[in-house]
């Protein structure tokens, strides 16, 4: 038996498909510009304690050894790459013909914050800032509103408040060190489901470094390389937990997008889960479908970082094993150092049969982020 891999088209398609970039990052450039968006006495409190929107930093050595943002993408007026919405409009949206860019705001590390109320206020401030400074600039920008996970009830309230704004695409949930199937998250899932907002999962530099942030299985990274390459290990237990806890049976409308952690590990996980489930179903009898069916219905994965497979045929074959027509979404991860050039991604995926190409470049994202 052989895996059926779709034949690639022999020529580049003449028309560019619609493109949704499922993972781009706007950066807040400084504490000063954020302060007006912090309300009441919180502003004084945060000024007094000289808070950093960079959050916690990377004290343990987890910082990228060079530049974690692309050096050639510094805006003309200065500031970090990704901090100028007009410049990013020119170099990302216009240059590459991106129809929607889903913005997951950085830097913010609220999963490892100390004070739950302060973290909730900062999340609100971030959302207000990016609405006014980014969404207002171009309607192609869409915002994954950020929440603090420290108090799920406050997070749910933030979702319900911000969900009524135009231009909101999803909910960026910086993960605490609790598996995603845990009932801790139910208030968040309920609010997200009510408003048809997918949950967006994305590492934020705290992983494996700070108390409160997700830990790596088996130990602690000792370098950026170990940290960065370990991202898939942070995702796989979440996939398992969401399915076997029954969370997706409780929240049948919930969608989850796992960004920037790769995807080629998924065929392994789908097969392992489906196989083990045949003998373990009776332990978790609420898992009523094959685990892979939950993945196909509820979970999405971004293309970035693009795999450097030895051959394009290998890449196609692995991709085919994870139902890409349902699960895979194009993303650039602009302006991160490892972000993908859309043209390079297009060369890898652009010659896929038209339907599959369209699903990856826009269809899956449009179906998942249904408010686009």
């Amino acid at each position: 038996m052989t895996t059926t891999v779709p034949e690639r088209d022999t020529v580049e398609p003449k028309t560019k498909p619609m493109i949704v970039d499922a993972d781009a990052h706007p950066f807040c450039p400084s504490e000063d510009v954020m302060l007006p968006y912090i309300t009441g006495a919180w502003r004084e409190r945060l000024k007094d304690r000289k808070f950093s929107i960079g959050g916690l930093g990377f004290g343990g050595g987890g910082a990228h050894p060079g530049d974690h943002l692309k050096r050639d993408q510094v805006p003309p007026g200065g500031g970090p790459p990704g901090s100028d919405p007009k410049f990013m409009r020119d170099v990302l949206l216009d240059k590459w013909g991106i129809d929607h860019a889903l913005l997951t705001p950085f830097p913010i590390q609220l999963n490892a914050w100390w004070d739950a109320d302060e973290a909730a206020e900062l999340a609100s401030a971030f959302n207000r800032y990016f609405r006014e400074q980014w969404l207002a600039v171009d309607s192609r920008y869409k915002l994954n509103l950020v929440i603090s996970p420290l108090d799920p009830e406050l997070a749910a309230r933030e979702i319900r408040t911000v969900a009524s704004w135009d231009g909101i695409s999803g909910v960026y949930l910086p993960l605490p060190n609790i598996f995603m199937g845990d009932r801790f998250y139910y208030p968040i899932y309920k609010a997200a489901e009510e408003h048809s907002l997918p949950i967006v999962i994305h590492g934020n530099g705290t992983d494996g470094l700070y108390q409160g942030a997700p830990t790596f299985g088996g130990g602690r990274p000792s370098s950026y390389s170990e940290f960065y390459l370990g991202f898939p290990h942070l995702i796989q237990p979440q996939v398992i937990s969401l399915i076997f806890s029954g969370a997706l049976e409780r929240f049948p409308g919930l969608k989850i997008a796992f960004l920037e952690a790769g995807w080629a590990y998924m065929p392994h996980l789908l097969w392992r889960m489906d196989g083990a489930w045949k003998g373990l179903r009776w332990e978790r009898p609420w898992v009523k479908k094959r685990p892979s069916e939950y993945v196909r219905q509820h979970m999405r994965f971004s293309t970035q970082p693009a795999y450097e497979a030895p051959t394009v045929e290998m890449l196609d074959q692995v991709m085919q094993m994870m139902y890409p027509e349902e699960t895979m979404m194009f993303s650039t991860d602009y302006p991160h150092w490892d972000g993908d050039d859309p043209e390079v991604v297009y060369r890898r995926f652009g010659r896929l049969p038209g339907n599959l190409r369209d699903r990856i470049f826009s269809g899956n994202a449009l179906d998942t982020f249904s408010r686009l």
């Binding site: 806890s245 029954g246 969370a247 045949k278 003998g279 179903r281 009898p285 609420w286």
Partner: protein
């Protein structure tokens, strides 16, 4: 019943209720006989998954599909759980339970004759996995 060769295996009271027993036939094949509350069922004695002797499986009920966080126990004594990977089969039908798994236990004709368990088995049957697929 078929014209396949008959094998008198044992007296019915030699297989207590809600237990199973395996019988090696003289042609090298093996049959599992289940006594489900006085009703007898026979299958080839191999799990269709990795060919474990299904007669050694636990005879049990199972958890029925249920809402998250709740358990509903049912099918008491109607389930055999393979001793290897815990696949579950309905003793009455040989079919997999709740997983849409197409592979099943291969049924063997059985009759009770003068308090004896008698089976008829096709000689030189193909391996069960091939039959199921």
């Amino acid at each position: 019943m078929t014209d396949y060769p008959s094998h008198r295996l044992c007296r019915t009271d030699e297989i207590p209720e809600n237990t199973a027993r395996g019988f090696d036939l003289d042609d090298g094949r093996s049959v599992a006989v289940f006594n489900l509350s006085g009703e007898f069922f026979a299958y080839r004695n191999i799990c269709p998954h990795q060919y474990a002797a299904i007669c050694h499986g636990r005879i049990t009920g199972t958890m029925l599909p249920s809402d998250p966080g709740t358990f509903e126990y049912g099918l008491e004594n109607c389930v055999v759980r393979c001793p290897w990977h815990n696949w579950e089969f309905d003793i009455r039908t040989g079919r997999s339970l709740f997983t849409k798994e197409p592979r099943r236990l291969a049924p063997v004709d059985l009759r009770v004759e003068d308090e004896w368990v008698v089976v008829q088995v096709k000689p030189h049957a193909r391996p069960v996995a091939q039959v199921a697929e």
